[in-house]
Each structure stands twice: as structure tokens, then as C-alpha cells.
Amino acid sequence: MGRILLVGRLAVRDLRRRRTEAALLLIAILAATTTLTLGLVVRDAASDPYESTRAATKGPDVVAGTGPFAGLADLEKLATASGVTEHSGPYPAIAGKLEASGRTSDVQVQGRDTAIAAVDQPEVTQGSWVSDGGVVLEAAFANSLAVRVGDRVTLGGTSWQVVGLAVTAAMPPYPGTTCIVSAGCVNGAVPTDRDLAPGFLHNPGLVWLTQPDVRSLAPAPDSMSYVLNLKLADPDEAEAFVDANSAVMMRMQTWQSILAEATELARDAQILLLIGAWLLGLLAVASLAVLVGGRMADQTRRVGLLKAVGGTPGLVAAVLLAEYLLVAVVAAAAGLAIGALTAPLLTESSAGLVGSAGTPSLTWSTVALVTAVALGVAVLATAVPALRGARSSTVSALADAARTPRRTGWLIALSTRLPVPVLLALRVAGRRPRRVVLAVVSIAVTVSGIYLLLVLNTFLGEQAGARGYSEAQVTVLRHVLGVWTVILLALAAVNAVVIAWATVLDNRHSSALARALGATPREVTVALATAQVLPALVGAVLGVFPGGYLLFAAIIAITDGDRTKATLPVPWQLIALILATVLAVAALTAVPARLGGRRPVTETLRAELA
């Protein structure tokens, strides 16, 4: 117990002593855990609300409707087919136009009984169920129109009072509603070069009236369509039931296909977020490796002191690991909280399902996975340097011997032919090749992400209709991309600054020596900045190709998408992206480089040993 207390106390003391580094570390892991949490919570939101809606509304296993070749009699026969245990309907349905809040929308109006149905009894989320003269709106549709209970809407030229809002599992929420009227429907954006056939409904909402009210609105009895909801003995056999009863050309939809459509948007958002989480995870590992590597160099003396006063290599490793695990636990907790709180912003289009209107709940598996990833990242990044530090000789550690820099002979030879700042920059880079690789990877990952964002943004803007996205859906996906962009850029900026600081600190001695030998502060400053900008340039180029291209190909493969529908960035956009990246890195590293180039020479030379 005393040993654990000692390890904890030493770890906390060191974190408090190096607050800035601890904060940067926290931000790096936090960004990754937040995005991962968002991805996982949105995944849960994508399936759970439908399940709960289905349970709450006695959701049908199969929804059947009349069509050009199937009439009311066929539906009534289906109600008694083998395998059917319960049914509701057939209910009449008509097409119409609803005016509310100054907007006119196409709607499908379904006539229902005021009594509770055995199958598909929509769950009222506000107000009450249908009554004569009162209309109930599907919740997501009402949400998009900003209509509330008590408002008046016009339907078929008549004014109706909204008596309730409800959700159903018999069709996906607005704007993905299934077509139940004979007029036909089109969901999503309509390409500008195509006209909608007369009578077709565009992105129709769903409303319920009593059956007499629907019949009063129908221009003629034969203009009505009918819907039948069926419960089967074995819901998993819904597809087989549809196949067995497809002799009559009837419209039939299984609960599994409704589930898939209802959660399609959330699934797309989840794929984006999860890919974002992986990219951010990579960036976080790069940050951690640099931070930890930099700290290990600084902590050599501390390791020596711990060992000199009797600390075993195990204790030293435990103290170092404890520091990072502590930060990882805090980052995981904060990431889970932020992710869970912001997830509703990304799932608001699922308001048409029970349980999705509030905060999507965290599951134990999400908590465990996010925590495990945070701890794993910390352990991965700290294990090697911690063990190396713990095993180092006490005497050399106490003497604060600096890590021996690498010698990159060809780079040293090449640099002699270049101007002084580039000469020094190449040598700075050559001293720590692994850090340069991390910098290149970090920038390449970021630029790949931005490349993908450009493609997706263009796709959403220009080809929204290609996958049937409505404006509301595009807005939701843009939210996802926005969240992605902000976290990605924030973490990339943190990485650039961290790497620049680590480089400046690591080169204190060589910078001071170069100045003692005649390099000007400006030359050293430019060298330190150039040592960051050169890897940034390489990283940006690799991030565009092959990085961005491969990431795009991966997304297309995962989502089973059609790559011909996406417009890839044009050359000038890519060149601008590379230049912007280089400029951003130069700006971010300017301050550390300037401070590094102007640090008093004598202080450094006195403190450091060659």
C-alpha cells in the first residue's frame, strides 16, 4: 500500500511540476477519446432507438400496402396468411399538402382508429392520440417544421389542430419515410435537370387523422391506398414471409429493412466519426511519443535521483507509467463526458425514434473500450522509454547525460553546401530522425483527413441527391465533418507545437554552441523553424498522395460507395492545401523557434555537458 502511495505521490508531484506538458498530453489523449466516444455513442444511437421504438409501439414485422396490382381484398387475405399472429388495419392513406409555419410540405395522411391498435400503435411523445378534428404529426417531421402541440396546420384546405406528436416503427423517421400512397414518392434532393412526375410526393412527412377524417379529405374512394401491419410468429423470418407471399404484386417492407433505412444516416455519421477517431488516435500516439520522448530526456536526472535513493528499476518504471496512466484516465473520463454530451448534436435527425431525443446513453462497452484505448495509447507510448530510463546507469543518469544524437552522414555532407540556416536545420533534423518521422506522419495524417473532408464537403454540397440526402441530413453530416475538422486541426496544431518545443529543448546545447561559434540568433531561429517546416512539407505531400487518396479509397470500400459520385480535389486545391499546411506549421513553430534561437548562450553551455 505504501509503495502504491509513494508511486502515486511521485507521479502527481512530477505532473504538477510540468503542468504545460501534462496539459498538452491531456489534450492529445482527450481529442482521441472524445472522437472515439462520439463514434461509439452514435453507433449505439443508430440502432437502439429503433429497437426501443419497435418495442414501445408494438412495431410490425411486415408492413404491406396496396399497389397497382394489389387491392384491399389482397391485403385482407394477407392478414390471415400462415405465420401471421396479429395484425392492424388495413388503414386508409392519402397524399396531401400540409401548410405550417409558412411552409408547404407533401404529406402522407394515414387514417387510424382512436382505439389502441394491436400492431403499430404510434407512441405519443407529446399531446394525445388522434381524435376527430385533431391531427397527430410524426415527431421528426414536426421537428423539421417547428410545429408544436396546439398549433394549427392546414391540410387539404381545412384547418386542423395539432393534438399530438408521435413516433412509429412502421416506417423510418422523416425525411426517410416509406411511400404508402399510390401517387408515389421521391425522397432526397431532386437533380435540377429532372422534373418530378405530376402527383409524386417529394420528401413527404407522415401525419395521422381518424379514418372518417381521412375519408372526408379523399377526393374519391378509389384514390385511397391501404396499409396493413403484421406481427409474425417468428419476426426473424420476415424476409421469408415476404418471399412466400410475393405472388401478388404487393408493396411489403420488413422491419429489418425499416431499421436499416431508419439508421442509415446515423451509420454514415458513425463511419465518418470512427475513421476520424482512428486518425486522431494516430495523431495522439505521435503526440505522446514526442512528449514522452522529450520528457524522458529531461527526466534522466530524476531517474538517477530515484535510483540513487534506493528506487528499483521497477519503481522508476512504475512512477513514469503512473504519470501517463493518470493523465490517460482523466482524458478518458473527460472524453467520454464530452462525447456523450455532444452526440445529440449529431443524432438530432433521429428525433423520430423513441429514446433518441435526449442524450444518447453511454454503455459499459463504450466506457470500457474508450478507457482501454486511452490507457493503451499511454502504455504504448511510455513503456519503451520508461523501461529504458529505469534500466539506465544511475551514474550517467545523475550526470544528466544527454541522449546521444544520431549521426546522419549523408545529410551532414549535403548540408555543407547549403546556406547556414538550412545547414543547421538539416543537422537538427538529422540528430533525431525518429522525431522527424513522427512529424511527417503527424502532418500526413492531418492532411489526409483534410483531403477527405474536402471530398466529402464537395460531395455533400453538389451530389446530395445521389444518396438521397435531404438538406436536413446534409446539415447533420456537415456537423459531423465540422466536429471532425475542429478536433483534427486542434490536435495537429498541438502536435506541431509539441514537436517544435521538443526540438528546441533537445537542441539547446547545439544551438548555443552554434551561436558561440558564430551563428547569429536569426540563423539559429530560422534553422529551428526550417527543421519543422521541411518535414511538414514532406508530410503534406504524402498526406495528399498517397495518404488522402488511400483514405478516400478506404471509405469508399467500407461504405460500399460509388467513387464516381465524388469529386476529388483539383490540383490547385491540393497545392493550396500543401502551402497552407507549411505556412501553418511555420506560424505555429515560430514562437518556440524564436525563443530557442535567442536563449542565452552561456547559461546553456554552463548547464549542458558535451
Partner: protein, 253 residues
């Protein structure tokens, strides 16, 4: 202090360096006057912490004084910009440090050529000069070795060669034998004696009487100020050298 013969290459007047304020004020260098003539070797001796190294840093423009003036070849260097100071160091001053301060990833010849490259010399000229200097310090055969593969004395000889890379007016050496064993000390002493004979102007900070014995003047420093000065007849490893054991070491070699 005595005037050095001829025009002084280095002149310091009323030189002061203070750290801290109020009760915590420390005068590391306290009113030092010094003239060093061309070709002269001056040794500054004193106990640890008396301000010797700080003085050397002020004289070489690595640090700025709190008060007083420093001139190099008649030109004030205490009030010029950092950039001008850097240029001055690159062409006029060579430094030799106690802990060598060699770049660990550069070979001996790459370390020696670095000041010339910083001064804008062509890579070929810089390399040729570095090889010549390494020959002079008898390390021609070790030009391609990394510092980690050299002994302490060899490292210090590389550092001396580096200090001479740009043919400076003045070489400032800070405890050049402080980290060396007796045999390596002898190597370096002989090297400095050679530099002295070649007419180079040298200021050496040391607490080693043997190295001070090679100088023209030996100045004692205490609490930041000069307290005593001894003029030696042109620098010697003769009588005084024998007195401090240098001759014995030479014989042992």
C-alpha cells in the same frame, strides 16, 4: 593593471557583471580592467566561483556586462547587436571550453570545419583548413572519428583546432585542462605552448598552475576582481614549469 606591449587586441575597462537584485545581488565580475596585447598569453587564475568563466564570456561577447566596456581590436563589442556579436565571434574569437562542447554526431574534422562553414567558406576550403588544423594538433589520423571514440585529451585538441578554424585574433580558453588527466593535460599544455610561440593571442582561465606557467602574465582573481598580477618572462615551461611539475611530466612522457 600593466599595459600590454603594443596595441591591445583586447581591452576591458571597469567591467562588471551582476546577478540578482537587493540583498540577493551577486557581483560575479566586479570592476575588472584588462589589456591583452597581440601575441600575448594571459592566464587568469582563482578558486572556483571567483568569476573567471563569467569574465571570459564577457570578453568573448558570449554574455553582456552590467557595466564597463570591452573592445576587441579597438572596436567596442559590449554595445553591439547580437548579430554583430555573432559575426565578431565567428571571425575574431575562438573558444576552447572545459567540457570540450563538441557536437557528438559530427566527426573530428566535421567539428573543426563547422565555424568555417558558418562563416560562409566553401565546403572544400573549410575541409582543407580543418584537415590542416587536425594535422597541427597531431590528430590527422583521427579526422573521421566521432568524439565518443576519442580520449579526453584528443577531444580537447579537436576543440583547439576548431577554435583556430577561422584564424581568430584571439583564443579564449576556459579551464582547458579541467576535465583531463595528467597525460592529456600535458598534451594540451604543449599545444598551447605551441600556439603561444606562433604568436597567437590567448586568454586562459584556469586554476591549474601548470598551464598558468606557460603564460606571459598570470592574474589572480578573487570575488570577481583581480587581486594580483605576475609577469612571467615570456612564458615558460622552464624553471617555473619545473617548479609546478611540468618538466617531470614531460620527462615521464
Amino acid at each position: 593593471m600593466n599595459e600590454a606591449a603594443g596595441t591591445p587586441v583586447l581591452r576591458a575597462q571597469g567591467l562588471r557583471k551582476e546577478y540578482g537584485t537587493g540583498d540577493g545581488l551577486v557581483r560575479a565580475v566586479d570592476g575588472v580592467d584588462l589589456d591583452v596585447g597581440a601575441g600575448e598569453t594571459v592566464a587568469i587564475m582563482g578558486p572556483s566561483g571567483c568569476g573567471k568563466s563569467t569574465l571570459l564570456h564577457l570578453l568573448g561577447g558570449l554574455d553582456r556586462p552590467s557595466a564597463g566596456e570591452v573592445s576587441l581590436n579597438g572596436r567596442r563589442i559590449d554595445d553591439i547587436s547580437e548579430k554583430a556579436l555573432a559575426r565578431m565571434r565567428r571571425t575574431d574569437v575562438g573558444f576552447v571550453f572545459q567540457s570540450f562542447h563538441l557536437m557528438a554526431e559530427l566527426t573530428a574534422v566535421e567539428n573543426v570545419e563547422l565555424p568555417a562553414l558558418l562563416a560562409g567558406r566553401s565546403p572544400r576550403a573549410a575541409r582543407r583548413r580543418a584537415e590542416e588544423l587536425l594535422e597541427q594538433v597531431e590528430l590527422g589520423g583521427r579526422a573521421g572519428f566521432l568524439p565518443s571514440a576519442l580520449s579526453g585529451g584528443q577531444r580537447q585538441r579537436v576543440a583547439v583546432a576548431r577554435a583556430l578554424s577561422n584564424e581568430p585574433l584571439l583564443v579564449l580558453a576556459d579551464e582547458p585542462t579541467g576535465n583531463l588527466d595528467s597525460a592529456a593535460t600535458l598534451d594540451v599544455l604543449q599545444l598551447f605552448e605551441g600556439l603561444h610561440k606562433s604568436g597567437l593571442t590567448l586568454v586562459i582561465v584556469t586554476h591549474d598552475a601548470r598551464i598558468a606557467a606557460t603564460s606571459d602574465r598570470m592574474i589572480s582573481m578573487r570575488d570577481g576582481a583581480f587581486v594580483d598580477e605576475t609577469r612571467l618572462s615570456g612564458g615558460t615551461t622552464g624553471q617555473l614549469g619545473a617548479l609546478v611539475g611540468l618538466a617531470d611530466l614531460a620527462t615521464e612522457e
